[in-house]
Amino acid sequence: MNAFETAALALLAGFVPLGWVCLRERELDGVVALELAGVVTTLVLICLAEGYHRGIYLGVAVVCSAVTWISGFVFARFFGQL
């Protein structure tokens, strides 16, 4: 297990507090946690692609960061209008 795989595994621990916020707090706080979860997911994908020496998989990380941005805007607009 190399350093990047270890980093990806450690980053996965960040989902625990974010999931707790999504489940227990108000819905807009859940959106905030979801936005940070998207960032963490992107970093996990980068670390896994580098750890497994598969550069082509970094495209997934680029798409994930773009989708995180779009979904955050959709949620923010939706909850702002309620």
Partner: protein, 92 residues
């Protein structure tokens, strides 16, 4: 030497990101939580980007990583701003 630099950068990036995750859970208001979300799009990603660049250089892997982190860095403040506006309009 290169491995030590990569390990230190990865540890710093992962530590910063986990700190932001815990901060989102610990803070009480939406605006305080947004502060940690904004920090999560800058410190951690740049440390991990630096680790990848030290290991791989500016080849295809490095440029793809730069693209992903740049998207996070540039889009993060816009997203935080939009979410803060939504939170403010709900408070009224």
């Amino acid at each position: 030497m290169e491995n030590v630099v990569v390990d230190v950068l990865l540890a710093a990036g992962v530590g910063a990101e986990l700190l932001c995750c815990v901060g989102v859970a610990v803070m009480r208001t939406t605006f305080d939580r947004l502060h940690y979300t904004a920090a999560g799009t800058t410190v951690g990603p740049f440390c991990i980007l630096a680790a990848v660049l030290v290991r791989e250089g500016f080849g295809q892997v490095g440029l793809n990583t730069i693209a992903a982190v740049a998207l996070l860095f540039l889009a993060g403040p816009l997203l935080v701003h939009a979410t803060a506006r939504a939170a403010r309009s709900r408070e009224r």
